[in-house]
């Protein structure tokens, strides 16, 4: 799973921060996140039951051009091998080179990609996909159902890459004819793995065993997508060429070139100078300089990410966390004490929305608006009354409440030093806690250290931390799957475990009817919000910018114009006259 990026701080630290952000944006090095037994067990499911995307071709009617789209970014891909990559940059590029069976449109709804149409069986246990009849690999071979079956089966069998997490229930594929593939699962899949897994050419990959795949650089990817890899000058640029043999309507840009910038100030200047047409991420430090620049449009869009305060609620024998935090009343009081609007306005400089449940507001159809009577936010009086009622009072008059047996409500709070928004938020949180009689001692550390401290499953020696998550797919399953009992040792960073929550999770993952699933998803959000192992502070916005005088037709959608789950903006932007 993916950890959120820390927003970068000072210009002076540019060198350092760029690289940190580079790592961060892909996912933090989280020791433990891949611990044995943790693979997000039940991945999820489901999907569009029977979409008939028919031709799917993205099209706006504009003709293919000879122009080059120039994209500025601050970090480059690690590898072109989709089965070993861990960077979002590689994922972004590879989604233009490889097709999935089903993609996403600019409405972030599933739409036909390599599968022209599909149909899920009545029992929900299998889906039949009919491939685009004229699809070919970029080396000229036809795309067949064998390729699809090979991809799914190999990822499942050899447990390859992070895609294996989606195939926990996969039982096999059938290929009745070259255009048709049937994928079978042990349980219905509310999130269809076909939305996540890129289809690879069997004739290229089947010559390698799992070990060879680990070190395969894939420098000349053979894909079926709308672009092919032109050249990757490491440390400088990645160039994609339009695939003229693409099965759908061709992309309008003839070429896409990603330009690597190591300095945020220079990156912003490059956009203003017209050296690039779009920036995938505008650091908040240079945001104000981009807003209002001539011929530049700055886009502040909701994202699928949050930052949170997490409490160590581990009951493992070796846990060195303060046991008082296992009492939900203390966590609820802290949740009530902190003013989330203040966090957004001060720590985040207003670049986001107030946080509440596990599902970001950007996933609007799944996000739960917490009803006012259960709301815990910016209400110190409520926090005090919760603590009073639970018997935590300040008996010795030192300003810190104690439990009935005299233990002070004093906890350690850790945050990542380079993530300045988190540090600022931790300071505000500490002050809010102090105002209701809870003392927090703040320490900052680097990201690797925080990761290994937090994910020390057997003997976690910490109390409270600040960090974040990015959703890997536009589906609630991703975020809801973090605090499962089965994810202790995996992604579960607070060691929360509630069998009833896990039960609901399993149910929603196999519930194909969206309305019925939404009821379960809401219930889970409320349950986790009430128990407060996380205080979700905010859903930060994605900050991007593009020139208006070079390319037109950018669709500003939740998740961003680029680095989103849809590739349509790349297909459809047209040169400005």
């Amino acid at each position: 799973m993916r950890r959120t990026i820390g927003w970068r701080g000072a210009v002076v630290a540019a060198a350092a921060t760029i690289v940190l952000a580079a790592c961060g944006s892909s996912a933090t090095p989280v020791p433990g996140s891949a611990a044995p037994g943790s693979p997000a067990a039940s991945a999820e499911v489901p999907a569009p039951t029977d979409a008939t995307g028919a031709t799917a071709a993205p099209s706006t009617g504009a003709a293919p051009s000879d122009a080059t789209l120039r994209v500025g970014w601050a970090s480059e891909p690690d590898t072109m091998n989709p089965l070993t990559t861990y960077s979002t940059e590689a994922t972004e590029v590879l989604q233009l080179i490889y097709d999935k069976l089903i993609g996403y449109g600019t409405d972030l709804k599933p739409k036909a990609e390599l599968a022209a149409s599909w149909e899920t069986a009545a029992d929900g246990l299998s889906t039949t996909y009919r491939l685009q009849p004229n699809a070919t690999w970029s080396d000229g071979q036809p795309v067949t159902s064998e390729d699809v079956a090979y991809t799914f089966q190999t990822i499942k069998d050899d447990s390859l890459g992070s895609y294996a997490q989606w195939l926990a229930d996969f039982v096999g594929a059938e290929t009745p004819d070259p255009q048709t593939v049937v994928l079978r699962y042990a349980k219905p899949q509310a999130f269809d793995p076909a939305l996540a897994i890129p289809i690879l050419p069997k004739h290229v990959w089947s010559t390698m065993d799992a070990k060879a795949i680990q070190t395969f650089p894939n420098d000349q990817p053979v894909g079926s997508g709308p672009f092919t890899l032109g050249e990757w000058k490491k440390g400088e640029t990645v160039t994609l060429q339009r695939n003229d043999a693409f099965w759908g309507s061709p992309a309008i840009p003839k070429e896409i070139i990603y330009v690597l910038y190591a300095s945020e100030d220079v990156e912003a200047q490059a956009l203003k100078n017209g050296d690039v047409d779009v920036l995938t991420e505008v650091p908040p430090t240079v945001w104000d300089g981009v807003v209002g620049a001539e011929n530049v449009k700055a886009a502040q869009l909701p994202s699928f990410s949050f930052h949170h305060i997490g409490f160590n609620v581990s009951d493992a024998a070796g846990s060195r966390g303060n046991p008082l935090l296992r009492d939900p009343e203390i966590r609820r009081a802290l949740s009530a004490a902190v003013d989330r609007n203040q966090l957004v306005q001060i720590a985040l400089a207003g670049k986001g929305q107030i946080g509440s449940t596990l599902i970001p507001a950007g996933l609007a159809e799944w996000h739960l608006e917490v009803p006012p009577d259960t709301k815990l936010d910016a209400d110190p009086e409520k926090a005090k009354s919760i603590l009073d009622a639970a018997g935590y009072v300040d008996a010795n008059g030192d300003g810190i409440r104690e439990s009935k047996d005299g233990m002070p409500l004093q906890f350690r709070l850790i945050a990542i030093e380079s993530t300045s928004v988190d540090v600022r938020a931790a300071q505000l949180f500490r002050d809010a806690a102090e105002a209701v009689g809870i003392k927090l001692d703040l320490t900052t550390m680097d990201e690797n250290t925080l990761g290994s401290t937090v994910y020390n499953t057997d003997a976690p020696d910490w109390d409270v931390f600040v960090w974040g998550w990015d959703s890997g797919v536009p589906d609630p399953d991703y975020m809801l799957g973090v605090p499962l009992c089965s994810q202790i040792g995996g992604n579960n960073d607070v060691f929360y475990c509630d069998k009833a929550y896990d039960e609901l999770y399993a149910q929603q993952a196999t519930t194909l009817d969206p309305a019925a699933r939404k009821v379960l998803v809401d219930q889970m959000q409320q349950m986790f919000y009430d128990a407060a192992p996380y205080i979700v502070m905010w859903y930060q916005d994605k900050l991007q910018a593009y020139r208006t005088d070079t390319w037109t037709g950018w669709q500003e959608i939740p998740g961003g114009i680029l680095f989103n789950f849809t590739r349509d903006n790349y297909m459809n932007v047209a040169p400005a006259r």
Binding site: M1, R2, V12, A14, A15, V19, L20, A22, S26, A27, T28, P29, V30, P31, G32, S33, A34, G37, S38, P39, A40, R70, D78, T79, T84, T85, Y86, S159, G161, S162, A164, Q165, A210, K211, Q214, T215, F216, P217, D219, K234, G235, E236, T237, T239, E255, I257, V259, L260, Y261, A262, S263, D265, V266, Q269, A270, N273, D275, V276, G490, N491
Partner: protein
């Protein structure tokens, strides 16, 4: 020219070999005692199965005991195999070769400018010791020397790249450029080199000016200079013929050290100008715990320092008979 006696050279080379071996071993151990498991970092996309992680460990030889890893490391080195990058999954030699080439291009120009003009200005100031020209040169050198590199780079970006728009502000080439002739390519790369080279030259020239000046001032107080003057030689001849050669020793040392920087790249300039050189490669490798890349870079760095020193030792003997006869 006096060639070093074979005995001397052999002793020197033996020393070099011993140093190299120590560096190799230290290099190997250093990255293995660092906290942080590289395989864990690679598996950070999460949800890798235990089998997948084990396979990863095997494919990079990290499942072997340390002594075995050490032997494999030495054996591979002997065959010129520096391993496979954990990040890029490509041979380290190929990655290093690309970056070294870029760094060499950048620093070759800067080195020539810094050394040549540094000596020139240093001599000029020393010859006018105590005058306004001299103190002006000293102060200016100190100011340039203490300027933060990234700041100078940004100032250049804003003045020449953004305000006047005469030069490109980042990278090595114009993204997406298709060159008709090799000349066009050379012109494009050269244009991209101007700002980083200027930045490096400005920041680094100060030390050469100051070293040259103080060394030459010392020499100019020597008796043989007085003798030269007494012989009626021209001022120019006294300085360039009798002074400068005798003031060269510290300059040679400084140049040797400066040249060894080339391998390390110059992370600040590379960052400001998004230049794909060695400095950024090493920095990224540290953060990603890319041991093979780090080991190879450090090795290259050590080898360059060792040989730059050897070269300056040999040059000393050529420049100064006293060293030779010692």
């Amino acid at each position: 020219m006096h060639l070093p006696r074979p005995g001397y050279l052999a002793r020197k080379l033996l020393g070099v070999a011993a140093t190299l071996f120590a560096v190799l071993t230290f290099n190997f151990l250093l990255f293995r005692i660092l906290p942080g498991d590289p395989v864990r970092l690679l598996a950070r996309a999460g949800n890798l199965s235990p089998e997948a992680i084990e396979r990863l460990r095997q494919s990079f030889g990290l499942d072997q005991p340390l002594p075995a890893q050490y032997l494999i490391y030495l054996r591979n080195l002997a065959t010129g195999d520096l391993g496979t990058s954990l990040t890029y999954r490509r041979p380290v030699t190929a990655i290093l070769a690309e970056r070294m080439e870029n760094t060499l291009i950048l620093l070759a120009a800067a080195t020539v400018i810094v050394v040549a003009f540094g000596i020139l200005f240093g001599v000029y100031a020393a010859a006018r010791r105590g005058t306004r020209v001299d103190s002006g040169t000293v102060v200016t050198s100190l100011v340039f020397w203490s300027l933060p590199t990234f700041w100078v780079g940004l100032i250049f970006v804003f003045i020449l790249g953004v305000y006047l728009r005469v030069l490109p502000i980042s990278g090595m080439t114009t993204p997406g450029a298709h060159y008709g002739t090799p000349i066009e390519a050379i012109v494009d790369v050269s244009r991209h080199l101007v700002l980083p080279t200027l930045t490096l030259a400005l920041v680094d020239i100060g030390q050469f000016i100051l070293i040259t000046r103080s060394s030459l001032i010392d020499v100019l107080t020597e008796d043989f200079i007085l003798t030269a003057k007494a012989k009626g030689l021209s001022r120019r001849r006294v300085i360039w013929r009798h002074g400068v050669p005798n003031a060269m020793l510290p300059i040679v040392t400084a140049t040797a050290l400066y040249v060894s920087l080339i391998v390390g790249g110059t992370i600040q300039v590379e960052t400001v100008f998004s230049y794909p050189g060695m400095g950024r490669l090493m920095y990224d490798a540290v953060l990603r715990r890319d041991y093979p890349v780090l080991e190879a870079s450090f090795l290259l760095f050590a080898v360059t320092v060792i040989f730059a020193n050897l070269a300056s030792d040999l040059l000393y003997r050529r420049l100064d008979p006293r060293v030779r006869d010692a």
